[in-house]
Symmetry: C2
């Protein structure tokens, strides 16, 4: 059983999906997948997610063209999170940043963020 | 406002927290933080999380000794996910694996996993 894939979807039917750049290793984004998004990702090789805010299935890059070509999918020990190693066709973030994680917390104050060069 | 830290906790009061090894860049684990876990992490420099299954605060490594010394915390564009870059004192996974993501999905079958060398 340990080496069978039986994803543990949460109460909303979702897994957490973490995407890194397969070339640089950089963390690009965190999103969610339902069973259909996962199946479409595996069948097409392009990352699909479930948008919790829009309650809709979407393919990353469907409007921007900044698709994610998925090279490997890993699952964690308790099978509620996936790690997608992907080649990004452009900026992963809707803001235009390469990664959604373009700001770091600053020790100088609990609410201060420092924007990093992209 | 864009550069102020105002984390967007979900309905359960949680953020997704992704941990990578600050030296190798490897994805180690995905967990969750409530406000208290985040505050303790920032104050102590050691990763604390909220366990959804146990409904309890925990410090990673509190029993195993495999703590995570946090070097940087980043937040994503919509402030519902954190990226912790950390130095692990030992295996990050409770199974003894270096990373919780030690298995990949196999194209040969929808439920097949391949265990990777650690």
């Amino acid at each position: 059983m340990a080496d069978m894939f039986h994803p543990k979807f949460d109460a909303a039917g979702l897994l957490t999906a973490v995407v890194t750049d397969s070339r640089t290793g950089e963390l690009l984004m965190v999103a969610h997948m339902n069973a259909e998004a996962l199946a479409l990702t595996r069948a097409s090789g392009r990352a699909h997610f479930w948008s919790r805010s829009r309650q809709a299935l979407w393919m990353k890059g469907e409007t921007s063209g900044h698709v994610l070509d998925v090279e490997e999918i890993r699952v964690d020990c308790d099978q509620d999170a996936l790690w997608l190693k992907a080649r990004p066709a452009g900026p992963a973030c809707h803001t235009g940043a390469r990664s959604c994680f373009f700001r770091r917390l600053d020790e100088a104050g609990p609410h201060r963020l420092v924007r990093l060069d992209d």
